[in-house]
């Protein structure tokens, strides 16, 4: 199930061009990884999996705050949410 969720997040990341959906797909993949940690922790009855999930949670929170600030900046600058509009880097 974690693999299925991770694959869905990856598909969403590759297919969509809207930056909101890309961030959402990253969230799906992080959640799937956390689910894998929880399942492993429950399998061996250790709390390490839950500790790792909390670290993933903190990382997701930081990533989402920075990512959404970047989304706002992108929208102010280009008036769109299409990520292809921001590919102006030459080289």
């Amino acid at each position: 199930m974690a693999g299925v969720l991770f694959a869905l997040g990856l598909i969403g990341l590759l297919v969509r061009r809207n930056i909101i959906f890309i961030l959402l797909s990253i969230e799906i993949m992080l959640n799937a990884a956390g689910l894998a940690f929880i399942v492993a922790g429950a399998r061996w009855a250790q709390p390490d999996g839950q500790v790792m999930f909390m670290f993933i949670l903190a990382m997701a929170a930081a990533e989402v705050s920075v990512g959404l600030a970047l989304v706002l900046g992108l929208q102010r600058l280009y008036k769109t949410l299409d990520t292809d509009a921001a590919s102006e880097m030459k080289g």
């Binding site: 959402l24 969230e27 799906i28 929880i38 429950a42 709390p47 929208q75």
Partner: protein, 196 residues
């Protein structure tokens, strides 16, 4: 209760599929919230009630509210109005409502059944998690706190820096767009009348 695990897992996968196939961001967020709630039920059936509570509070609560806030901020002018009009006929909320009703039925079943021989596996409670978190993983906690601080500062910086120079930058963009002949009218109508 393996059937609860599999039911919640099916709900999570279905909601995630609906998430990445929606065209509207708000609909996708609705389905993703349902997916997170289903994942919380999965965690509970796996014997991690503390993480289930954290999933609901932080993921479905805080992070999704952040997403919805940004999506609401990004909607501009008449496009949002047209979108709102397209929402009004209803029927869109049926999908998330059905999936959430399945989860709600599961929670009601758990509450009504009361304590009993519940878990197929051993429960790892919050006490053990806390002991492990502040025992061998103390350095990780400090690193996570520093990461959160860095994220806070970065988000503040990215959100704040464009405020003083926003006016000049927007006018530059408007002049450029006027040459292109696109969206200058809309940008003009967004301003209040007395604004420079």
């Amino acid at each position: 209760m393996p059937w609860m695990f599999y039911l919640a897992g099916a709900v999570a996968v279905a909601a995630t599929i609906m998430t990445i196939t929606r065209l509207n961001a708000i609909h996708a967020l609705l389905y993703f919230v349902v997916s997170l709630l289903a994942a919380a039920v999965v965690f509970y059936t796996l014997g991690a009630p503390f993480i289930a509570a954290l999933e609901v509070i932080i993921y479905a609560g805080a992070i999704m509210v952040l997403f919805i806030f940004v999506v609401m901020m990004l909607n501009v002018g008449e496009r949002a109005v047209a979108m709102e009009r397209s929402w009004l006929p209803g029927g869109i909320w049926v999908g998330p409502a059905v999936l959430a009703a399945v989860l709600f039925a599961q929670v009601v079943y758990l509450v009504m059944r009361g304590p009993g021989p519940e878990y197929p596996r051993t429960v790892v409670g919050p006490k053990q998690v806390g002991l492990a978190l502040y025992g061998p993983y103390l350095m990780g906690v400090e690193l996570a706190s520093m990461l959160l601080l860095a994220g806070l500062v970065a988000a503040y910086h990215l959100g704040w820096r464009r405020q003083p120079e926003q006016e000049s930058k927007e006018t530059h963009f408007d002049e450029r767009r006027t040459a292109v002949g696109r969206s200058a009218v809309r940008a003009g109508t967004d301003r209040p009348a007395g604004a420079p």
